[in-house]
Every structure is written in C-alpha cells, then in structure tokens.
C-alpha cells in the first residue's frame, strides 16, 4: 500500500540536513534545534506507520523509477514492514535522543551547523538503508551512512590523524562493499530481480546454482563485516572514536554498525543457501567477539573500551545470525542500542565534565561530582554485563540459549565449544565494563581541574536511555520474537527462565563483576601479580593483537609497493614502448603512402595529410 508518510520519514531529515546548515550558518543556535526537530518528526511518522501495521500488511512508496529501462526493473522504492519498523523506531528514537544530547555537547563548537547537517544526513541515509525495497536501494543507504561516517569521524579535520581515521573507515567499508556488489550481480542474474520481497521466496532461491549461492552468501557476509566491524575488517571502528562522542553513540554503536545484522536478517534465505556460510559466520563472530573483548580489558581510553566492547557485542549478534536466530540478533540490536548509546553518552558527559579528558587513569571518583551520569553508566554497565532483569540480560541469554540449539553440519562436535566461548566472552564483558566503571566513578579523582555534571539537555536523554537499559528487555522480551515472525523465520521462544533461571543466567555477568571488584578494589596487589604472570597476554591485548600492523604488512604495503612499481616502472616503460611503436606505425604509414620522409616530425605530419588526400585521389580513375 502506497503511503506518503513513508516518503516523509526519509525526506524530513533530508530537508533538516539542508536547513540546519543553511539557516544554522546565520544563527548557529537553531541548527541543533532544527535538526533535532526533524528527527523527532520523522520518529512520529514512524510511530504512526508502526501503529498502522496490522497482520502481514506493509507500506511502500516509489520515489523514482531510477534504474528501470528496457525490461530492467529497479525502481527507487522504499518499503515498511515489521522488520523495517523495528529498525526505524530504534534509528529515529535513539537518534532523536542523541540529537538532543548533541545540542549540549556541541554547544561551544563553531562548526555545529555542519555537524547537525551531517547528523541529519546520516539519519536519512540510515532510514533509506532499513527501508530499501531492493538491494540497490539498500545500497544507497549503505553507502550514504558510510559517507556520513567518514565525514563525521573526520569532523575535526584540521587534525590529520582524525581525517585519516575517516579515510580508513571509508576504505575498509569499501572492501566490504565489493561483496555487496558481487552479491547483487549474482542474485540479479540468477533470480532476475533484486527485490527483497522476491529474493527470500523459496522458488526464487531455488534458481541460484549451489556454488553461486555460496559465493553470494559469503559476499553478503563480507559486506556485513565491513559495516558491522567484524574480522578481518574491524580495525576502523576503534579509530572511528576520533569523531565527536555523540557520533560514536549514534553511528558507531547504536545504528550504523548494526546494518550488517540487518542485511543478514533481510537476506536470510541467501545466507542459508549453503550451510558452510552460517558456519563461517559463527567462527568469525566468535573470534571477533573474543579478540575485541580481550583488547578491551587493557584499554585506558574510555571511548576505546566502549568501541571494542561494541565490536564484541556485534560479534554476539552475528553468533545469533550464524545459528539462524535472526530475531534474537535483532533483539540484541535493540537492547544494545539502548545501553551502548547510554554508555557512550555518559562517557561523553564524563569527557565534557573533565574538560576533554578521555584517559581513565586521570579520572576516578566522579560518582560524587557527576551522580546522574554515574547512575546512568552504572545501569547500562549492569545491562551490558547481562544481569537480570536489566535489558542486556534477556537478549544475551537468548543468544546463549539459541547457541545451545545450533545444528550445522560443518560445526561437527564443536557446537558446544561455541556456547562455552560465548559464555567466557560474557564474563569478560562484565569484567572490563566493571573495570571502566570503577576507574571512572569510584576511588578518588586523579585528574586536574574540577569535573562538573553535564547540563540538563545532556543528562535528560541519557537518563531516558538508562531507564530503557533497565526495563527495555523485560518489556520487549515477550512480544518481540512473535512480532518478527513473518519477515523473519520463527525461533524457539525464550522466557528468560523464571526467577531461578534469571539468577542462573546472570551468573557469568556476576562472575565478571565480582572479579573486577576483587581485583580493582579489594586486592589491587593481586592484580599486579597477575599482570606480571600474564605479561605476554597484556602485551597482545594492549597491542590490539597487532591487527593494524598485520593488515598494513599484508595488504597495504603490497598495494603501495605495487602502486609505486606500476607507476615508476611499468607505466614509464609502457609509455616509451608504445610511444616507439606508435612512432614506427606513423613512419611506416608515411613511407607507404608517399615515400618521402624528411626526418622532421612536423613536416612529416603534413605529409600524412597530403598522402591521405593523394590516396583518395588515386581511387578516382579506378571507375
């Protein structure tokens, strides 16, 4: 059913992006208000559409006939079903709160019209991504959010490191995009369509040859690893923390990085064509999640801890994708959006309050000076640690439970190992998050100056998200999986397991919290002992598994070298070689046609014209 509200959902933030820049340059104060209002308006439209969804009903809207010509049909059409509804609600809902927060956070930045313009552009792109009715339309949003991410990471572009971080993010995402394009090419030729409502039909999927099905699945997963920061393409995300903190909260935690999960859920039919693909997803997700969790333990920059934790949590979502529990993955997307946005925004308040200090070693004791922020950060920490009844518990528990039901021929008998590994990561998560909480808020203040609580415009949205981090899981737990049945395959229903089950399910989180508490508060001496014993581990962890160096050595350096060789050696010799050949040809033609060469190129070019004319003349008497 066509519905203009759907067009407005996307167009309002787009117009907001233009207005907040144009009008914001005249009066910088209104840029933030305009941008926030635009996203909030979009949120209202989404809610009204969501309310109107009944049963299997969907809405759609065609913006342009786009790539439709001859007998090719690829219109620019957007589409609203229950899966899009969930994503749109998160994007615009959490997006509105982060816009509001940014008004306070960016209050003293002279470039804030540009900031809010980019932020609105991001929302519009993200909405196109989750609303696209065909893969090329999704790709519009996919690239759009990549561009906004690039622009916002390098927002403070006078710092060349920040600008380089933006470029790194864009290029690494581009590598993933190759997968997206290849998948589109394969699916188009096999299925004759790129419409998502067509592609998941069994009779259409049956047309894909099996080896092509495997390549398409892997290609889509490659695309997802780029955007959702999984191995081998995750090192851009920690660097992306160069952007302003609201950007980290919105783009690099709550919304954009979950696009890969969304793509997997949308294309589940293709992902499951070859059982090897989900197996590869499972192992990649487990490795990414574990590596990121280990790195997070040794980070001292509060934003870096959260960044690695995001990578780790995204790995958790991919674990659910790998066992076919797409709605469980989506559930974790939603709860993660709540608590991770809350964590990032609390961290932003801390950074704001500590005068742009990000190193936790120069924080401490902030619970006294920033009580509201401490409360929010604490609630979100308990949520991410997976303590019942906080939001993260329900989604994390559902993932662990679905892992137990995994059946994939390629897992052989390692299925339980994955569940065990995931539990260990959950303990680890609780440990490093508690560590960051202790270092930031407990003990005594180790920095300089006087930290202060953030203004109301910043604390209010953080508190809203804190409340969602507390109750969000409990509220959504019952209806969520059944709601998404239709666009997504059903999963075994989870109940959270009653009181006893909740207590048992919280055990990994409690272990992690207790360990961190013991090591950082009760017996710091033991912690130093452990660090001495595990010094290799600490080196690896704080060195971030040397992934940047390895990638630099294996990929970037060869290409740079190739580039130099090709341009200095190949290009030069080819130019000279063909140059001589071309000279030879002209000489031969010249001699053939007139047999007069003066050895001077200029006269000889003249001769070429003359000889050509002569030749033409020669044909005359033939008749």
């Amino acid at each position: 059913m066509e519905d203009t509200r759907l067009a407005l959902v996307v167009l309002v933030p787009l117009v907001g992006a233009i207005l907040s820049y144009v009008l914001g340059r005249a009066a910088p104060r209104i840029a933030g208000i305009l941008a926030t209002a635009a996203v909030a308006t979009s949120f209202c439209f989404v809610v009204s559409l969501w309310q109107a969804l009944e049963g299997g009903q969907t809405f759609s809207f065609t913006l342009s006939s786009w790539l439709s010509f001859s007998n090719i049909k690829l219109p620019l059409e957007i589409y609203f079903d229950k899966l899009s509804a969930v994503m749109c609600l998160v994007v615009t809902g959490v997006g509105s709160l982060i816009h509001l927060y940014s008004i306070g956070y960016m209050a003293h930045d002279e470039s804030r019209p540009r900031f809010f313009s980019y932020l609105n552009l991001f929302i519009a792109s993200m909405l196109i991504l989750v609303l696209g009715k065909s893969l090329p339309v999704i790709f519009i949003g996919w690239e759009g959010v990549g561009l906004c991410s690039y622009l916002l990471i390098g927002f403070w572009y006078t710092n060349p490191d920040f600008a380089s971080a933006g470029r790194k993010a864009f290029v690494m995402n581009r590598i993933g995009d190759l997968g997206f394009i290849v998948a589109m090419a394969i699916l188009y030729h096999s299925c004759g369509s790129l419409d998502i409502t067509v592609l998941n039909r069994p009779e259409v999927l049956a047309r894909i040859p099996s080896e092509m099905g495997f390549i398409a699945g892997i290609a889509l997963f490659l695309a997802a690893t780029g955007k959702s920061a999984q191995l081998p393409l995750f090192t851009w995300l920690p660097d992306a923390m160069a952007g302003p903190t609201p950007v980290s909260a919105l783009i690099h935690a709550a919304t954009m990085v979950t696009a890969g999960i969304y793509l997997m859920a949308r294309m589940f039919g293709v992902i499951e064509l070859a059982p090897l693909v989900p197996a590869i997803i499972l192992w990649t997700a487990l490795a990414t999640s574990a590596i990121a969790a280990i790195i997070a333990i040794s980070q001292n920059d509060i934003k870096k801890v959260l960044a690695y934790s995001t990578v780790s949590q995204l790995g958790f979502m991919f674990l659910a994708v790998g066992v076919g529990a797409y709605s469980v993955a989506l559930f974790h997307v939603v709860t993660h959006a709540f608590f991770k946005a809350c964590l990032f925004m609390s961290a932003g308040s801390v950074i704001h309050g500590c005068h742009h200090e990000q190193d936790m070693r120069r924080m401490g004791g902030l619970a006294k000076s920033m009580p509201l922020t401490c409360l929010s950060y604490g609630a979100a920490t308990l949520a991410i640690a997976g303590i019942a009844p906080f939001a993260g518990y329900f989604s994390k528990h559902a993932i662990l439970e679905s892992l137990a039901h995994a059946h994939n021929p390629y897992l052989h008998s390692y299925g339980e190992l994955i569940g065990l590994g995931a539990t260990a990561i959950a303990i680890c998560t609780a440990f490093y998050m508690t560590r960051s909480f202790i270092l930031t808020f407990l003990g005594s203040y180790r920095g300089e100056g006087h930290p202060h609580e953030a203004p109301m415009v910043m604390t209010a949205p953080v508190l809203v998200l804190a409340v969602l981090s507390v109750v969000g899981g409990l509220v959504l737990n019952h209806g969520f999986f059944t709601y998404l049945q239709g666009p997504l395959p059903p999963v075994a229903t989870h109940s959270g397991g009653g009181i006893l089950g909740s207590v048992l399910g919280s055990v990994p989180g409690l272990i992690g919290i207790a360990a961190a508490y013991a090591l950082f508060i009760v017996t710091p001496a033991v912690k130093d002992q452990i660090r001495k014993v595990l010094w290799v581990g600490e080196k690896v962890s704080s060195g971030k598994f040397f992934l940047d160096e390895i990638l630099g050595l294996l990929v970037i350096a060869p290409f740079r070298g190739l580039s130099v060789v090709v341009s200095r050696v190949l290009d030069q010799s080819v130019s000279i070689g063909t140059g001589n050949a071309i000279g030879g040809i002209s000489r031969a033609v010249g001699e053939l046609t007139c047999r007069v060469t003066t050895g001077q190129v200029s006269t000889y070019v003249l001769w070429m014209f003359a000889s050509a004319a002569f030749l033409l003349y020669c044909f005359l008497p033939v008749r």
Binding site: F69, Y157, A163, R174, I181, V182, H189, V574, V589, M608
Partner: protein
Amino acid sequence: MTIPWPPLSSLIVVPALGALVCLAPWFSSKIDTKARFVRLWALGVSMLTLVILAAIARAATMSHGAVLGLEEAHQWIPSLGITYHLELDGLSFAFCLLTAIISLAVIAWSAKPASAGAGWYALLLLGEATVMGAFLATDLVLFYIFFEAMLLPVLGAMALWGGAQRLNASLKFLIYTMAGSALMFLAILYLGWTARAMGHTLDGNFAFEITTLASMKMLNPTEELVLGLAFLLAFAIKIPMVPFHGWLPDTYREAPHGVAAFTAALLGKVGIYAILRFMWPLFPTFMVQAGPYLAAAGAVAVVFGALVAMAQKDLRSLLAYSSISHLGFCVLGIAGVSTMAMTGAVFQAVSHGLITAALFLTVGAVIDRQGSRDFDRLGGLARSIPLTAFFLMVFSVAAVALPLTSSFVGEFLIIVGSWKLFPAWTTVALLGVVLGAVYTLTAYLRTMFGPLHDTDPRTGGDIRGFDVVVLAGLAAAIIALGIFPADLLGMISPAVEVNAVPSVVADSSVALGFSR
C-alpha cells in the same frame, strides 16, 4: 528520411559560425568591454546550441514516442559516394548533450590563460562544433574528418596557452592520434572500395555510410580482423586504453584548465561512441571474438590507472590517471553483448564527462589560487576556501561512484551487466572501486584537510560569481542523473540494441547467449 526542424546541421553550424565571429577583427582589440562582450557572445552561442539540441530532442520525442531517430542526408561528393549524413538517435543524443553541457561550462568558467583573448572562445566553439560533428556523422569519411578536426582546437589551445612543456605535449598528442587514425583511414578506404568492388551499392559507386555498409555483410573474418584492429587502434589511442595512453598524462598536465576539462570530458568519449556506433555493426564477428580481450583491457585499465593514480602527488596527473581508470569501466561495458552493460557504458561515459570536467575546473581553481599542484605544498584548504572544498567533496564523492550520483548508475549497470559474460574481469575491475576510494580520498585529505600549509595564496578568496553557478550546475546535473536516470537510459538502450546487439543476434553462426 526525416529532416527535423531545426536541422541537425545547426548543432554543428551554430558553434562553428559563432567561432568565426569571435575571430572578427572587431573582437581582437584589447579593449576591456569588448573582451567581456566576446565572452558573452561565446556563452550565448553555446547556450543556443544546447537549446537547439533540447528543442530537437523534444520535438522528436513528441512525434516519435520515446525513441529518437532523426536523420539528415545530402549528397556531398557523388563521384566518390561520400555523403553528408547525420543521425541523432539515443546514443548520439547522450553524447551531444554531454558536449553541449561541457562546452557551455568551460566557456562560462571565468579562469582562462592570461594571454588568451577572443581566440580562446573561438577555439572552444570550434571544438564544440567538431565534437558534435563526430557524434552525429554516420558517413565514415565525414566522421573521419570530424575525428581529425576536433584535434585542432585542442592542440591549438594547448600550444598557445599551455604549460612549460606545451609544445612537447602537443606534438606527442598529435603523433599518437595521427598514427592511429591513419590506419583507420586506410581501413575506411578499403571498406568503400570493397563495397564498390562487390557491386553492392545501387549505382555501383563507393559507399561509406554506416548502415549501408553494415547491411552488406561483405567482409570475411580475416578482413574483419584486420580492419577491426585498424579501427580499434584509432579508438584505443583516443579513449585512451592502456597501453596507448602515453599522450594523456602530458596533455592533461600541460593544457590550460579549461582545455584539459574539455579534452578529458569529450575527446576520449568519441572512442567509446565510435566503437558502439561503427565497430559493432561493421565487424560483429570480430567484436565478439575480441570481447574477452576488450574486457580484459578494460579491467586492467581500471586497476592500472588506479594504481598509478595512487602514486601521484600532482593533482592534475592524478586526475589524468583516474580518467584512465574510470574509462576502463566503459571499455568493459562495451566489450560484451549485454544491453545492460552497454547502456551503462554510455551512461558512464556521459557521467565521467561531467564529473571529470567538474574536477578539472575545481582543481584548476585550487591550483591557480595556491600556485601549486603538489600535495606536499597544499593542505588545510577546507577552512580557507570552504565553497571550493564543498564542491570538490561533491565531485570526489561522485567520482568514487556513491549511489545517487550519475557514476553509480553507470558503474552498477556495467558491473552487473558484465558479470555474466566476464565474471573474472568484472571482479578485477571491482578492485578499482576500492583503489578509487583510496586515491580520491587521499587527494582530498592532502589538499583540503589537515593543518593549513604556509603557502601564500596568489589570488585571494574562494570561487565566486559565475563559477559557482557553473559548478552548481554540473553538480545538479550529476545528482539529477543519479536520481532520475531512467529517461536517458530509456533513450540510450534502444539505440544500443539497434546498433550493436541485433547484428550479432541475427548472425546465427555466432552462438552467444543474449544477456541483459
């Protein structure tokens, strides 16, 4: 045979006459008001050409439905069977539209060499006339004349107002293109002679008109191979395809900004156009055999151009090699019989013309302002010239083929369309998508981001006035074609099918899956 009103010839005659008027002695005086007047005159002429083209297209689509197919034919040299035959179909229209827009943009751009007077505009208008002619002519001799004549304005402008190495560069350019076209000219004569010898023509005369020649099917495979190679060499040099690109870096480095924009946007496109217009109908068997090699050449050019561009530190050289890379996609697109890929290639050619002209002009503004084109001496300009930085960002984003820009449409159709025919080469070409992002963003990073370098600006300030209109117009065209490409695609695809595809499909000896 329909002769539309205004006639197709007006697309050639109007700018040519306009160029002649520019040379009138009244204009060549050094008085300032007259210098301004000649610019307005040239602007008016190029605008009129664009209007005429739009009027013709509009009239044609009104009377013939969506597909354009206008012809204009006169006897010219009857004793030799040479005709004056022009045709405007969707294929020609796409390129003529590009020519009209680029000419207008380059003429309207305020920066021109200091010593250039009325002659600058005369040469640009002459360039417009000859390139238009090349895109309209269907008689091979007529095409050849335009194909050669369009060199003159470019060479003239480069030799008169180019950089320090201008004469060297001009000579190199001349020799390369002449070498290719000389062989093509011999091939054209051979075709005409064969047509007469076989007695296929009505009056027993030579024939050079493309549809007449193509319908004869008079060539044996060996002839097709030899003649096809002769044609291909001419176009490979013109596009240019690797390894025939030796002239390009010098030309793009030494030519004045406007001429570099004009050359990069238009001259190479004649090669792409001519392969579709002449080679597919004339040598279908050869083209099918050459397809995989052509696809390979295209894919290699994409990667080669991108790798060399990555190593450049000179902004203009970077643009030159990125052009080689982007045109590699076009070559890949015209290598195989797929409506999707071929239509995409034509669209990509138009899109690349718009984007590369815009980039040459914008980069020219940066170079003129800073007095340097070297990355190491630029940096941090986003703060001092924000409007230029904004436009450079828009065009860079378009160059890396982000969706909703025109180049995405072209590259997407080429890649998806070629995938079935040449999966391996398409995959190789895809590498260019990543490398393209690397060198484009690096160039942007080094010029616009980072701390402001302590160079002293030669001319103050950001772009302003008419130049903003020019860049905004080009940006609007690029984005409009990115969001609403369907009309143009719908014009191109039937023309491509008529020209290239049926000659192969009808030939049952060629077993080839018709793929879309």
